[in-house]
C-alpha cells in the first residue's frame, strides 16, 4: 500500500507537476474541468428539472409518428442490428482479460465521482425569469443532497472493500461488455417511475407509481438482448473462421439497405405478379449470368466474348426505352455490369463457384429491392416523412455515409484520371457541390429538385434529401480520399506497373487500400460531421432527433405539460449524440491500431 502510494506521488510529480508552468496548467485545467462537471451535475439534479419529459417521450424520440401497428418492423430492424452486433463481437472476440477487482475498481471510481459531485454541486442556481431578470433560487436542497449522498457513499465503501479483496477471477473483455449491456436491460424491469397516462375520457392524468419505466418496451428489449447473447455465443464459436468474418462484413454493408426498405415500406404484395413475372425473370437472368461464368474460359466463348457483350449491351440499351417491367430492365443492367467484370475476376473452379454465389445474391437483393420499391406502401403517416426522430437522424447519417463513400471514391479516382472528360466532370461535380452550403442543397432537395426530374418521376422528400446528402458528403469524401491518394509515393505505382498489373488492379489492390488507411481519422470525422449535420434537415420541415427535443417536447402539453422543459431534453440529446460519436471514434482508433501494426 505504502509503495503504491509512493508510486502515485512519483507519477504525479513527473507528469503533472514537473515544472512551474506545468503545475499552473494542471491546476487551471482541473479547476475548469471540475467546475464544468460540477455545474452540469447541479443542472441535472436541480429540483425544477423534469426528466420525465425525456423518459416519457422515448417513443417520440426514436420513431416519431411511425404507426404503432407497424412497430414490429422497427423492432425487427433493431433486433437484426443487435443480432449482427452480437455475432460480430463474438467473431472478433477480444483476447484481453480483466480481473474481478479491476471491474470493482471501475465501479468504485464511477460511484466516487458521483459522490464527489454530489458533495460539491451548487446549492443555488441562476434562473432567468420571463422578464429577463436573473434570479437566484435554491435548486439542490440539503435533503435531496443527503438522499443521494448516503447511497453513493455506501456504494463507494462496498466497491472499495470488494476491490481490495483482490479477487483474481479473470473475465474476457467481450464477456464483460455483454454483462455491462445487461445492466440497463435489468434496470428496465426494476426501476419504477410514475408513468403518466390518459384515462378513458382522454382528460385526466393518472400517475401510476408502480409502473416500471419503459413498460411497453421492456419485453421486446429483453427478447432482443436474449438473441444478442445467443448470437454472441454462436459468433464466438466461429471466431477462427475467416469465411464467417467475411460474410459478416458484407452483411453489415447490406444491413442498412435492408432496414431502410423494411421501415420505409410495407409493400402491397401481389402474389400472381411475383410468381408469374418476378421469379421467371430472376431465374432467367440468373441462368444467363451463371452460364457465362461457367464457360468463360472455354476457347469458343472466349473468342466470341466481345461480340456477346456487345449484343448484351445493345439489348439492354433497347430494353431501357421500351415498356417492360422495371425489374427486367434493372436485372439486365446488372447482368451487363457483371459480364464486364467476369473475365477480370474468375479463373479457378473455386473462384467461379464463389462468383456465381455473389451473382445470385446480388441479383436476388436487387429483385427484392425493386419489387419493394415499385410497389405501393401500406404504411401511411400524416406528415412529410415516414422517418422522424432518431430513425431519421440514423437514416441520414448511416445511409448518407454508405452511399456517399463509394461515390467519393469514384469521384476522387475520376478527378485523378488521365481522361480529360472524366476529370472535368468529376472536378465539376466536386467543386459545384462543395461551393454551395448544405442548407442551400436541402432547399434544393425540398423545393427545386422536382423541376429537374423527368416527368412522372417523383421521390419522397427523404429520398431527395438522401440524394443531395450523398453528393454533398461524397464531394468531401472525394477530396479527403484524393489527399490520401497523393500521399502514396510514386514508387508504389511504379512497382505495381513493373509487375504487370492492369490499371484497375493497381488502383484496387495497391493504391486505394493504402490511401484509405492513411485517411481513416479524416474519414471518421467526416462520418461524424455527417451524423451531426443531419440535424439541419429541420429547416425543410423534416423532424429529426434534435427537433423533437427542442421544438416538439418543449411545447408539449398533452398528456402532461412539459412546456419549458427543453433544456433537460437538450442535455439528453447532447449525451445521446456523444455516445454515438464517441463509440465511433473509439472503434476507429482500434481499427487504426490493428491496421497500423505492420507498418511501423
Amino acid at each position: 500500500m505504502n509503495l503504491e502510494y509512493k508510486k502515485s506521488i512519483a507519477w504525479m510529480r513527473e507528469n503533472l507537476f514537473s515544472s512551474i508552468p506545468s503545475s499552473i496548467l494542471t491546476v487551471a485545467t482541473s479547476f475548469f474541468v471540475l467546475g464544468f462537471f460540477r455545474g452540469l451535475f447541479g443542472f441535472a439534479m436541480a429540483s425544477d428539472k423534469d426528466w420525465l419529459s425525456v423518459l416519457n417521450n422515448m417513443q417520440l424520440y426514436m420513431v416519431q409518428a411511425y404507426p404503432e401497428e407497424d412497430f414490429i418492423r422497427v423492432w425487427i430492424s433493431v433486433g437484426l442490428a443487435l443480432v449482427f452486433a452480437g455475432t460480430s463481437i463474438g467473431l472478433w472476440k477480444s483476447t484481453e482479460e480483466s480481473s474481478l477487482s479491476d471491474v470493482f475498481s471501475k465501479f468504485m471510481k464511477v460511484s466516487l465521482a458521483f459522490l464527489f459531485f454530489t458533495v460539491v454541486a451548487p446549492t443555488f442556481s441562476s434562473v432567468t425569469d420571463n422578464d429577463g431578470i436573473i434570479q437566484t433560487e435554491e435548486s439542490f436542497p440539503m435533503e435531496t443532497r443527503l438522499q443521494l449522498l448516503i447511497p453513493s457513499a455506501i456504494l463507494v465503501v462496498v466497491f472499495f472493500v470488494l476491490k481490495n479483496l483482490k479477487l483474481n477471477y479473470k473475465f474476457n473483455k467481450s464477456d464483460l461488455l455483454c454483462f455491462y449491456l445487461a445492466i440497463p436491460i435489468v434496470l428496465l424491469w426494476i426501476i419504477k417511475l410514475p408513468t403518466i397516462q390518459l384515462d378513458s375520457s382522454n382528460q385526466r392524468i393518472i400517475p401510476d407509481p408502480l409502473m416500471p419505466i419503459a413498460d411497453t418496451t421492456k419485453i421486446p428489449w429483453t427478447i432482443i438482448f436474449g438473441l444478442f447473447l445467443a448470437f454472441y455465443f454462436i459468433g464466438s464459436r466461429f471466431k477462427d473462421s475467416k469465411n464467417m468474418k467475411r460474410t459478416m462484413s458484407i452483411s453489415w454493408v447490406l444491413l442498412p439497405l435492408f432496414i431502410f426498405s423494411w421501415i420505409f415500406k410495407k409493400p402491397e404484395i401481389d402474389l400472381p405478379t411475383i410468381l408469374g413475372q418476378d421469379i421467371p425473370i430472376f431465374i432467367g437472368i440468373f441462368l444467363v449470368g451463371a452460364l457465362t461464368i461457367t464457360f468463360i474460359n472455354n476457347p469458343i466463348v472466349e473468342k466470341y466474348f466481345s461480340i456477346y457483350l456487345g449484343v448484351l449491351i445493345a439489348i439492354t440499351g433497347i430494353a431501357l426505352f421500351i415498356s417492360i417491367p422495371i425489374l427486367l430492365k434493372s436485372a439486365l443492367l446488372l447482368l451487363v455490369l457483371f459480364t464486364i467484370v467476369i473475365p477480370a475476376v474468375s479463373s479457378s473452379a473455386k473462384g467461379k463457384r464463389n462468383l456465381i454465389i455473389v451473382w445470385g445474391v446480388s441479383l436476388f437483393t436487387l429483385s427484392v429491392l425493386i419489387r419493394g420499391g415499385s410497389s405501393d406502401t401500406q404504411i401511411i403517416v400524416q406528415q412529410q416523412s415516414i422517418f422522424g426522430g432518431f430513425s431519421l437522424t440514423w437514416l441520414l447519417a448511416i445511409f448518407g455515409t454508405y452511399v456517399s463513400f463509394p461515390l467519393g471514391v469514384l469521384l476522387a479516382l475520376g478527378r485523378n484520371s488521365k481522361l480529360p472528360i472524366v476529370r472535368l466532370v468529376c472536378t465539376g461535380i466536386i467543386e459545384l457541390t462543395r461551393s454551395v452550403p448544405y442548407i442551400t442543397w436541402l432547399f434544393f432537395a425540398s423545393v427545386t429538385m422536382a423541376v429537374f426530374l423527368p416527368e412522372g418521376v417523383n421521390f419522397e422528400l427523404v429520398v431527395r434529401v438522401l440524394m443531395v446528402t450523398a453528393f454533398f458528403s461524397g464531394a468531401y469524401f472525394a477530396e479527403n480520399i484524393r489527399g490520401g491518394l497523393q500521399s502514396i509515393p510514386k514508387g508504389q505505382y511504379e512497382a505495381a506497373d513493373a509487375i504487370g498489373m492492369s490499371p484497375f488492379q493497381k488502383t484496387s489492390l495497391i493504391v486505394m487500400p493504402q490511401a484509405l488507411r492513411a485517411i481513416i481519422p479524416t474519414l471518421v470525422s467526416s462520418a461524424i460531421t455527417a451524423f451531426k449535420d443531419s440535424s439541419l434537415v429541420t429547416i425543410i420541415g423534416l423532424i429529426d432527433f434534435l427537433t423533437i427535443g427542442k421544438v416538439i417536447i418543449g411545447t408539449q402539453s398533452i398528456p402532461v405539460n412539459f412546456v419549458g422543459h427543453d433544456r433537460e431534453n437538450l442535455l439528453f440529446i447532447a449525451f445521446f449524440y456523444w455516445i454515438f460519436t464517441f463509440t465511433l471514434s473509439r472503434r476507429s482508433m482500434k481499427v487504426e491500431k490493428r491496421l497500423g501494426l505492420g507498418e511501423r
Binding site: 509515393p489 514508387g491 512497382a495 513493373a498 509487375i499 504487370g500 489492390l509 487500400p513 505492420g598 507498418e599
Partner: protein, 242 residues
C-alpha cells in the same frame, strides 16, 4: 540471340535531354552492368526498357515486341521483365508473402496455393524463408531488397532490371543483396544492373558500360574496362570511384 535491342533511343525531360541516342543489344543470359556518374541517364535508360519512362525517339525491342503506346504490348513486356528498385518499393500494407504472390495470382491467374509454394521457394533462394508472414516495415533494408528480388522473380521473368539496388543500403547489408544477385546471374538470368558496385561488376558481369551525359561512352568486357579503359571519361570515372 539478342533479347533486348535498342536503336538510337532519345528521351527529353522538358528541355533537358536525358538520353542522346543509345544503341545497344543484350544477349539472352548475359549480365550487363551499367555505371556512370549521377545524372548520366543510366537509370532513365533501364526504366525505358519496361516503359516506366517513355522514350520519344528511336526504338526498343524486348523479346521480339516493340515498345509502343499499345497497352497490351506494355503489359506483356512488363510481365516478362522484372524490376528491382533503389528504394525497394514493397507494398507496405501487405505481408512479405502477399507481396510476392500478388502478381502471380492477379496477373498470371495462378492458384493461391501454387503461388505460395513458389513464393516460399523464392524466399528460401534469397535466404529469408522465416520472414514470410512479416510486414515489409518489420524487415531490415537488405531483407526488404531481397524480398523485392523474390517479388520480381515470382513472375518468372526472362529479364531482370536492377536500378541501383544497393545504393539505399547500409554497407553491411550490401553483401547479402549482392550475393542474391550473383546467385541469380549464375543461374543464367539475363540481367541489366545499374550500380556503383565495381566489385560486383568485375566478378559477375559479362559486359560493362559507362554512361555519361546521356551517351554511352564506353562498352567493354570487365577485364578490359577496368584494366585498360579506352576513353578518358572512363579513366576519370574509375579514378574517382575506385
Amino acid at each position: 540471340m539478342s533479347i533486348i535491342k535498342t536503336n538510337d533511343v532519345k528521351k527529353w525531360f522538358g528541355d533537358f535531354q536525358a538520353l542522346k541516342g543509345i544503341s545497344m543489344e543484350v544477349q539472352e543470359g548475359e549480365v550487363l552492368v551499367i555505371c556512370g556518374p549521377s545524372g548520366s541517364g543510366k537509370s532513365t535508360f533501364i526504366r525505358c526498357i519496361n516503359r516506366l519512362e517513355q522514350h520519344q525517339e528511336g526504338e526498343i525491342i524486348v523479346d521480339g515486341i516493340e515498345l509502343t503506346n499499345d497497352l497490351k504490348n506494355i503489359e506483356a513486356i512488363r510481365s516478362e521483365v522484372g524490376m528491382v528498385f533503389q528504394s525497394f518499393n514493397l507494398f507496405p500494407h501487405l505481408t512479405v508473402m502477399q507481396n510476392i504472390t500478388l502478381a502471380p495470382i492477379w496477373v498470371r491467374k495462378k492458384s493461391r496455393s501454387e503461388s505460395e509454394e513458389k513464393a516460399m521457394e523464392l524466399l528460401t533462394r534469397v535466404g529469408i524463408p522465416e520472414q514470410a508472414s512479416k510486414f515489409p516495415g518489420q524487415l531490415s533494408g537488405g531483407q526488404q531488397q531481397r524480398v523485392a528480388i523474390a517479388r520480381a522473380l515470382a513472375m518468372e521473368p526472362k529479364i531482370m532490371l536492377f536500378d541501383e539496388p544497393t545504393s539505399a543500403l547500409d554497407p553491411e547489408m550490401i553483401k547479402e543483396v549482392l550475393d542474391a544477385m550473383k546467385e541469380l546471374a549464375l543461374s543464367g538470368m539475363t540481367m541489366i544492373v545499374v550500380t556503383h558496385e565495381m566489385g560486383f561488376a568485375k566478378e559477375v558481369a559479362d559486359r560493362v558500360m559507362l554512361f555519361d551525359e546521356g551517351l554511352m561512352v564506353e562498352e567493354n568486357t570487365p577485364t578490359e574496362f577496368f584494366d585498360n579503359p579506352q576513353n578518358d571519361r572512363t579513366k576519370l570515372f574509375l579514378s574517382q570511384i575506385l
